[in-house]
Each structure stands twice: as structure tokens, then as C-alpha cells.
Assembly symmetry: C2
Homo-oligomer: 615 residues x 2
């Protein structure tokens, strides 16, 4: 029943041999790997303005200068990643670059920041996509959190089915987005040049400057705008998806992408400055500009819709990236093994679930506000950038002489990104960025712990350093008698057939008279087997059994316990709720008890009930 | 760790011998068993007015006449239950009365209606209690659903700890309530008599009569007002808690309670008529009257607070009643056995959880509206009343002659309650009461199914009609090899020590090369044992194992399979997430497969890892 349901929901299993890599043209590659970075222009300008408006009484050209600085930074980072693409065509994620050049801890810190960023990409892009929709249809604004979580659930479902990164289909939203934004920027620029640019009637509420003025305020705004750079590294993770020569094509695409990203970001920032729009709670800057330029005609809705669509596509990218990194970490022993393997639909299902869980949690905690999530996002991204670029510098040094130009490029990348990292950390520290530090430390700590445990386990299980015991321990079999019935007698007969050193019987009574009665009956049927009837004063069955096992374990020196539990065989799914509940708790308790766990076998004797007798 | 947490949350376990029954004075009994019925006056008048206002353009004295009729009905039912108390002092719930006099199906229908009513009591009382609070503090009205669920969670926690029905403490809210309501009614009557009664400024929005007029409208209103009678039977369930002579004291208390209930209900209905208040969404009738009489002074808040408090107490009563009925049903085989036993704190924990789950669900689905829940509530209550009274009539007939007066009293009770049942069912059918019919049918069907299953199982397990097989089946042992390590070799050695008829080995490979490699290694270490290496094209481990077990099961005629699974012993709780995940899924799959389930033993061989080696 469950299996059929699963197939209906997720589709039929796919054979391992069904993995095929579709090769992408550069234009398709730009659309697919660029969606994450390009879509961030939907909120980056707004983040700059939020800081400036809060800090100054009037709007100024400063926002455009900040956008120019960030556009310059985009090119520095793009040139840096261009080199990563050539050196690590199999996948240039920060973990890979760091583990090869910087060692374990930098790699784990990079991996932790990467995992956090994937979660934030899913949460931020979804939230921003919903914001594009609620700007056009304000009546659904109160439902933004629920909508966001529905989107995450939808993406989870789609990815569990196995979304193939189909170039043609997935490229469309990006093309829509580029078309609509170029139209808006072009039309806006033309209006500005002939002096008919409309100006917003929403005026900034003049506030007291909040202490931060001049350079500090500008740094704050700059830090906020750096959200535009998230996702710029995506191309370096997917070099293998490009047509041959892969590295060259990927590098070319990256540079195109940086150019387009810079133009759109500058364009939006200019439009916002000309239109004198200010951030308000329930309508995005983009929506305000588009409404001023196009009123509520079809182009306005096209802009909002294409913005939502590319953000949905961006929210989808971590569903491929996060599980892949988790799988790589599991392969190296830093993540539980259940993240290692492909599921029946050729996807890493556990990684998808984990991402989905945390992204939903973030959307809920931020109450569907992009602005609340940005601080964490930007810090994590620049931490990853810095580690990656520093790894590249070491890489060039290891490679030897003659790499000066390359060192300079990655050096410029490293220096600028580490500076931005500290700027962002400093300006956003109190409003949320501090969380990143304990979060990264915790994740690194957990990953190290997992690795240590797996290493020790592997050593102990290794055939090389270990010997099996010469003499196997004696067998002490304990029959758990729940009632004097065929199940108990069958279990006894079963135990005898194993020819153990000794057989004991145990019954836990919650009522003294009932216990006495059972003892009498047992003696009639099995006079040669000692039965312990223990009265459980607190009506608990599990703990007295555990205690009995522990004391029995001490009675004989070289023996191993086997607990035989008669159970009723289940022949319908709903029988699950009618039988064997206590035994399930017993099993958990034995598994979880460090004193007992290595010393016991469990044997389940299922009472055979003829199928014909059971409905 | 888990155990400590549980003790912190729920308190230390209590011994069975700690059950003591505190005997209640009549005044305490009135407070405790009366809270459910008395608290329903907080919403019953409002329900009448809701119907009348919707059907007429102006308010009329009709509401007071309806209240009078219901007060008369209260006394008929109270006299009926007076007789139940004398005849069934051990507990006169509808299930008890019906199973002894009417047979299985009426008893199960009664039990189903009782369980539903308990859930509704919890949901309705909580919702109405929250309404009393939000009337005084309108700003928290939007959070009413969340608050309601918090209250249910709080009651769940308190009852899991084991709330002793401490007379002194639990009587207080009822006394507060009685005091505040008598003050309000007395003060209101005095104001009315000297002509200074204030009149509400909220006027009924004149509506078109909605088709229902005259007698039909009055029946609708009457049906709604019958909500006042819910909980009237509570005293008959707790006769044993009274001081000797128990029945006499309980009966006396019941009649007092009916009197007080009638007075308060009539009083509130009169006040509402004098004040000309009409129901509005976010303020209760009680709050409107109290505000008119006392403005917002301390007495107003005292009335709202004591209303909320007695409703909280009423919401608590099903937490004792529901689990007790579930336990009795489990004792008779109609409910899963896990509802039978007292937990470590002397409470029926599973029953508490089930109640809490359904009550929360109802609060959520009704979006915190008492009015939406009332139709279901009243229908279920009167179904229970009717079955109970009919059972009593049969009881008297069985007892023989000379019972005419008693038959007449219960007869009057039966006739009036069955008529009301049909009135309520008819007038509320389309707005929700229809749900009760499939719900009761479903619950009865489930309970019958459970009983049938337990009866068959008991027959099959019974020592009387069954014989053990003379010859035990041969043992075929299958070692599940996950990797070529000490665990696999230890499992093999273990299997040999059981001296089975044959040993097989099985490995599921997701990679062909890896599978070949393992096969070679296995042959080196165990050349005499056949190993099957199966390639899983879909990377699924569980299904290939299940299929192997099924085909192996057919290979030998009289054998039984034993699957030996090497596992890593867990010595820290978090190891749970790092190991044996596939094996847990395998166990579920074997348990849930009707073809396989009766034919297999599972043996878990835990690899011994020295404790010193593990952190």
C-alpha cells in the first residue's frame, strides 16, 4: 500500500544507468547557473535603500555609487572564479578547493558556510519571490509565510521526483527575467533622458539620523547591497555540464553573467534613484518602479511574474547543491551515511529533506521577511568566497613559479572578499549575523565528531587489526512470558531447539494475584524451567526487564544473553497498532542502553497464526 | 537522559498502591462534577439568540420561554439520572448502562457518542473560555486558535503529571463562578425592577427572515439552547467519590446542581432579554451584559475571569473521563490494549494523548468558534442521554414488577431526550450535525473490528484448543553481509554456534565492481558458505532482501528462516543517527509483509566494540 502511494507521488524507481548528463550551450548555462545570482538583483537595491533611508533625512546619489562599487566587486570575484573553473573543472565548491589546499578545518568551515548558504538561498529566494507576487496582489500579503512553506514543499516534492536540470525548460524563466528587466531599464532610461520620468509620491519619512553617518552609514549600505553577489560562484560548481571545451565555455559564461548582473544591478539602482522610491513593507522596490513606469498594465504584471519565476528557479538550485555537498561530506565521513546514497529516483532524498526542513524553519522564523534573512546570508557567502580564494592562492604557490598573474587575481579576490566579509559581519553583527559564528562552529564540531566516530568504528571492524574470539560465549536464553498461551510455549520449544547452555523465563506482573496465577500455570507446562515473576510497582514493563537483563548478565562469566520475545504475527497493517507496542519500546530501550547494548541478542519468535484465521 | 527529562516534566513514578480516593463533601462534589454543566450557561443563551436574531427582525420574549422549556427539561433529565445513580453507583456512564441492558451495538453507539462528547467538551469549553478572555481583551482575539491549543497542551501536561481531583483546589473556580453570576443576576434583577436597567446600543441588524418562521424557528432556537444541558450526567459517573451514603449524597448533589443550573440559565436569558443584547463576533453575550451593568470596573473583570476559569475546569473533566472510558473499552477488547493500563504516573497516558489530539484538531478546524462546534456537541449528548434512559427502562422491566414510578421517570427522560435528539439532529443537520452519523458508525465499526481481531487472536493463542507442532522446523540461517568486516565474521561464527541446518550469506551491491570484490573476499574467509551477491539496479537495499527471503523460504519444505544482521552497538544516543538506518527500515518491511511475517525470526548480532574505544 505504502509502496504504491510512493510510486504515485514520486514516480517509478530509476536505474543507476539512467544517469545522463545533458550538455548545455553557453546561453543555457547562463540561464541555469546564473538564475541564483541574477535573481538577487530583485532585492539587493532594496537592501541598500533600507539602510540609507533609515540613516538620512533625504535620498541621495550615494546609492548609485554604492551600486557601482558592488558592480566592480562583482568583476573582481568573477575573475577569481574564472581561475577556479580552469583549475577545478570537476567541481570548484569551497569544500573541494579548501580540502585540497588548506586542510581539514578550513574545508569544514567552508562546507558549513556552504550548507548554511544553500538553506538561506532557498529561504531568501522563496521569500523574495512571494514578495514579488504579494506586491502585485496585496490581499494575499498576510498569507506570505504559509505560501512560502507551500513553495518549499512543492520544491521538495519536485526534487524528490528528480527534477532533471532540463536546459530548455529551466532556461525560460531567466530569459523572461532578462527580457522584462531590460525593457524596464531601457524604457526608464529613455524616460529619464527626455525628462518624463515619473516620481514616487511615497516620500521617505524624515528620520533622525540613527547615529551612523558618513562613512559608517555608507559601509552599512554597501554591506547590505552585497546581497547582489550571492550565487555568483554557481557556475564553478557545474563546469562538467557545459559542452567541450568545458572550462573555456564555463569561464566565458561566467564573465557574461557578471556583465549582465552588473548592468541590471546598476540599472535598477539608477531607476530607484530617479524614481525616488523608498522601501515600504508590503511592496517591493521593483514593483514600485514598475508601477510608476507602466501603471498596472500587462508589462507590470509580466515584470512581477518573471521576477517571481526566476526567484523560484533560484530557490530550486540549492535542492541540487545541498544534497550533493552532503553526499560528498558523507563520502568523506563527515556526514551520516544515509546522506551518501542516491535514492530510488536518483536523488539524494535525505539531503533534500534536511534542506527543506531548515528552509521552512527560516521562512517561519523570519515571518516571510527577506530583510531579516539577508544579514546571515551575506556573511556566509563572503566567508565561503574568502576561504575559496585563499585556497586558490595556496594552490598557485604549491604549483610553483610563474603564477604571479594568477596569484594576483585570486589575491585581489581574497583581499576584497575578506574585507567585505568583515564589513558585513561588523555592520550586521547585532541584527543577526552573529548567529553565523556559533552555527558554523556547531556544524564543524558535529562533522568532526561524526568523522571521529566513523573512523574508530571502521578501525574496530577492520579485519586487519582484529581477531575473532577463539571460543564463542555460552548462550543464556531468556523467554519473556507475557501471558500463558501458545506463544509462550512455542517460544520455549524454539529456545530448546537452539540447545543453549540454559533457559530462563521472565514475567512482569502489574497485579500480584495475576502474577502468582501465571507462575502456577508455567510450572505445570514447564516444570524444568525456572521462571522469575517480578512485580512492577510502577506498572512499567520495560525497566524491570532491562534490570533483569543486567543482573542476569552478571550471573555467568562467559555467556551472551538472548532475549526471546513471543510476538503476534501481523497480517494487516492496522494490526500494528493492536499488538507488540511494549516490545517496540523494549527494543528501543535495549538499543539505547550502553551497558546492555553490546551484550544481547534479540530473537523475535512470532506466533504462527494461520492466515485463513485472520481477517 | 530521556528518562531524566521525563521525570522533570511529569514527576517521579507513582506506585499502584498510591491510588487513594479522596472523598468529597456534597458542596465539593457540586463544584467538581457540576463545572461541566454549569459552565455551559456561559454560551447556551448566546446560541438561542444567534438563531432568533438571524430569523427575526426584532428581539422578543421568545428567548425567555425557550429558556424556561430547557430548564424544565433539565429537571426531567436530572430526575432520570437520579435513578441511574442509585442503580449504578460504580459508574453510570452510558456504555455501562447499555452493555448491561441493551446489548453490544447500543453500548458501542453510546460509547462512541460519549468519546465524541468528551472531545467536544474539551474543545467547546476551551474555546468558550478563550472567548471570555478575548471579550475583555479584544486585542488577543486574532490569537484565539493558538491560545486554545496552548490550553489543551497545558491540560495534557497537567493530566499526564496526574492531576488529583483535589476537592479544595478544584472547587474554587466553581464557587467563584457561582458568586460572580449570582451577583450579576441579582444586581441586574434589582436594576430591572427599579427601572434603571441599561440597554445595549448594539442593535440587531434587521435581516430578512431566513425562511424559518414560527414554530420551526423556535425549534431551531430550542435545539441551540440545549447546549446548556451538556455535562448534566457527570455526577452519575463519580458516585464513588462522595462520602457515605454515596448514592444518596450524589443524588442530592445532582438535584442541587440542576436547580442552580436552571436558575443561572434562566437568569442569564432574562438579563439578555432586558439588555436587548445581540450576539456579535468578538464579544460574548455575558461580557456585553456584564459591561452594561458594571462598565469596565473590577466586577466586570471578575465575571470574565471566573467564566474563563470554570470553563477551563470544564475542559479538564474529559481528561479524566475519556481515558477511563477508553480503558474500559480496552478491557472489554474494543480498544487497543495500550489504552488499558495506567502509566507510571497512575494516569491513562495514551487516552490523554488521543483526546488532546482530537480536541486540538477541532479547535483548529472550527477556527476557535464555539458556535461552529455546538451542533455536533448537542446531538452527541442527547444520543447518549436517550440510550442511557432507554437502558434504564429495560433495566426496570428486567427487575420485574412494582417499578412503575421508576419506569415512568426514566420513560419521561427517554421520550423527552429522544425527541430533543431528533429536533437537534433535524435543525442542525446541514450545519454540521450530519458528521456525527458517519463518525459514530466509523467508531463502532473500528471497535467491532478490534474486538473481532482480539477474539480470534486469543482463540488461536489459547492453550485449550491448540497443539504445538511435534517436530520443530529446521533452521535456515541467512547472514546479511553489509561489508567484509569483523561484524560479518562474528555473525558467521555466531550462526555456526547455533548449529542450524544450513547457513547462507547475502550481500546487496549497488555497484557491480564493489559486489565482485566482496564476493572474492568472502570466499577467502568462508569458502564453505554460499554467498549470493545481488545487484540492486535501483539502489534499494530493502526490497532485494525481502525478495531473497521469500524465494529462500520456498526452497526447503519444513524450515524456518533466521536472518542475522550484524549491527554496530550504540553507546551514545546520537549514534542512533549514524548507524543501522537501513536495518530499521528492513525490520519494518519484514513486520509489515503478511507473506513473510509469520515465517521468519530475526536475530540481531551486535558487533562488540570495547567501550573504552568509543567516545
Amino acid at each position: 500500500m505504502f509502496k504504491n502511494l510512493r510510486e504515485k507521488l514520486l514516480g517509478k524507481p530509476l536505474a543507476t544507468s539512467a544517469i545522463v548528463m545533458e550538455k548545455l550551450t553557453n546561453l543555457q548555462g547562463l540561464a541555469i547557473f546564473g538564475s541564483d545570482a541574477l535573481s538577487s538583483t530583485a532585492y539587493a537595491t532594496e537592501e541598500i535603500l533600507l539602510v540609507l533611508v533609515a540613516g538620512m533625512a533625504s535620498l541621495s546619489i550615494v546609492s548609485v555609487y554604492i551600486a557601482l562599487a558592488i558592480a566592480a566587486l562583482i568583476f573582481v570575484v568573477a575573475f577569481s572564479y574564472r581561475q577556479v573553473i580552469y583549475e577545478y573543472p570537476q567541481g570548484g565548491g569551497v569544500y573541494n578547493v579548501a580540502i585540497k589546499n588548506l586542510g581539514e578545518y578550513p574545508a569544514l568551515i567552508g562546507a558549513a558556510s556552504l550548507l548554511i548558504d544553500y538553506v538561506l538561498t532557498a529561504a531568501v529566494s522563496t521569500t523574495a519571490g512571494i514578495a514579488a507576487i504579494t506586491s502585485a496582489f496585496p490581499e494575499i500579503y498576510p498569507h506570505r509565510v504559509a505560501l512560502g512553506i507551500v513553495v518549499i514543499i512543492f520544491l521538495t516534492w519536485a526534487n524528490l521526483r528528480g527534477v532533471r536540470e532540463s536546459g530548455k525548460l529551466f532556461a525560460l524563466p531567466t530569459y523572461f527575467f532578462l527580457a522584462s528587466f531590460f525593457i524596464m531599464i531601457g524604457y526608464g532610461a529613455w524616460k529619464f533622458l527626455n525628462g518624463t520620468f515619473p516620481v514616487s509620491h511615497v516620500t521617505a519619512i524624515p528620520m533622525e539620523p540613527i547615529g551612523a553617518l558618513g562613512i559608517v552609514l555608507i559601509l552599512h549600505a554597501f554591506a547590505s547591497g552585497c546581497a547582489a553577489m550571492t550565487g555568483i560562484e554557481a557556475t564553478s560548481n557545474g563546469v562538467g555540464a557545459f559542452q567541450a571545451p568545458e572550462s573555456k565555455n564555463a569561464a566565458k559564461t561566467l564573465m557574461w553573467m557578471a556583465t549582465v548582473l552588473g548592468i541590471i544591478f546598476l540599472g535598477i539602482s539608477s531607476l530607484a534613484f530617479w524614481a525616488k522610491v523608498v522601501p515600504i513593507a508590503n511592496e517591493t522596490i521593483i514593483s514600485q518602479i514598475a508601477r510608476l513606469l507602466f501603471d498596472h498594465n500587462i508589462i507590470y504584471y509580466f515584470i512581477q511574474f518573471s521576477t517571481a519565476l526566476i526567484l523560484l528557479l533560484a530557490a530550486n538550485t540549492p535542492f541540487a547543491g545541498f544534497p550533493r555537498v552532503a553526499s560528498q561530506l558523507a563520502h568523506d565521513g563527515y556526514f551520516p551515511t544515509q546522506f551518501l546514497n542516491l535514492g530510488s529516483r536518483l536523488v539524494f532524498a535525505n539531503g533534500i529533506f534536511l534542506l527543506s526542513l531548515f528552509a521552512s524553519l527560516l521562512i517561519f522564523l523570519s515571518q516571510g521577511s527577506v530583510h531579516a534573512l539577508i544579514p546571515l546570508y551575506a556573511v556566509g557567502v563572503f566567508l565561503g568566497f574568502s576561504i575559496s580564494q585563499f585556497g586558490m592562492i595556496i594552490h598557485w604557490f604549491k604549483k610553483g613559479y610563474g603564477q604571479l598573474k594568477k596569484i594576483l587575481i585570486n589575491g585581489a579576490g581574497f583581499i576584497s572578499t575578506i574585507i567585505v566579509f568583515f564589513i558585513v559581519l561588523y555592520s550586521k553583527f547585532l541584527i543577526g549575523a552573529w548567529i553565523l559564528i556559533p552555527a558554523v562552529v556547531l556544524i564543524v564540531f558535529i562533522m568532526k565528531g561524526i568523522k571521529k566516530h566513523y573512523t574508530r568504528t571502521a578501525n574496530i571492524l577492520s579485519l586487519e587489526n582484529n581477531m575473532l574470539p577463539e571460543i564463542m560465549p555460552e548462550k543464556t536464553m531468556i523467554i519473556l512470558v507475557q501471558a500463558m498461551d501458545m506463544g509462550a510455549l512455542y517460544a520455549l520449544k524454539m529456545a530448546r531447539s537452539f540447545q543453549p547452555a540454559r533457559i530462563l523465563a521472565l514475567h512482569i506482573a502489574t497485579d500480584r494475584a495475576e502474577g502468582e496465577d501465571l507462575k502456577q500455570q508455567w510450572r505445570k507446562y514447564a516444570p524444568d524451567i525456572e521462571i522469575d515473576v517480578l512485580f512492577s510497582e510502577y506498572r512499567d514493563l520495560v525497566n524491570p526487564i532491562i534490570n533483569f537483563l543486567k543482573s542476569t548478565d552478571k550471573r555467568w562469566a562467559n555467556d551472551r544473553l538472548t532475549l526471546i520475545v513471543p510476538q503476534v504475527a501481523l497480517t494487516r497493517w492496522w494490526h500494528y497498532f493492536l499488538h507488540n507496542q511494549t516490545m517496540r519500546r523494549l527494543q528501543l530501550a535495549i538499543d539505547g542502553d550502553p551497558d546492555l547494548n553490546p551484550d544481547i541478542f534479540e530473537v523475535t519468535v512470532k506466533t504462527i497464526i494461520p492466515k485463513s484465521a485472520i481477517r
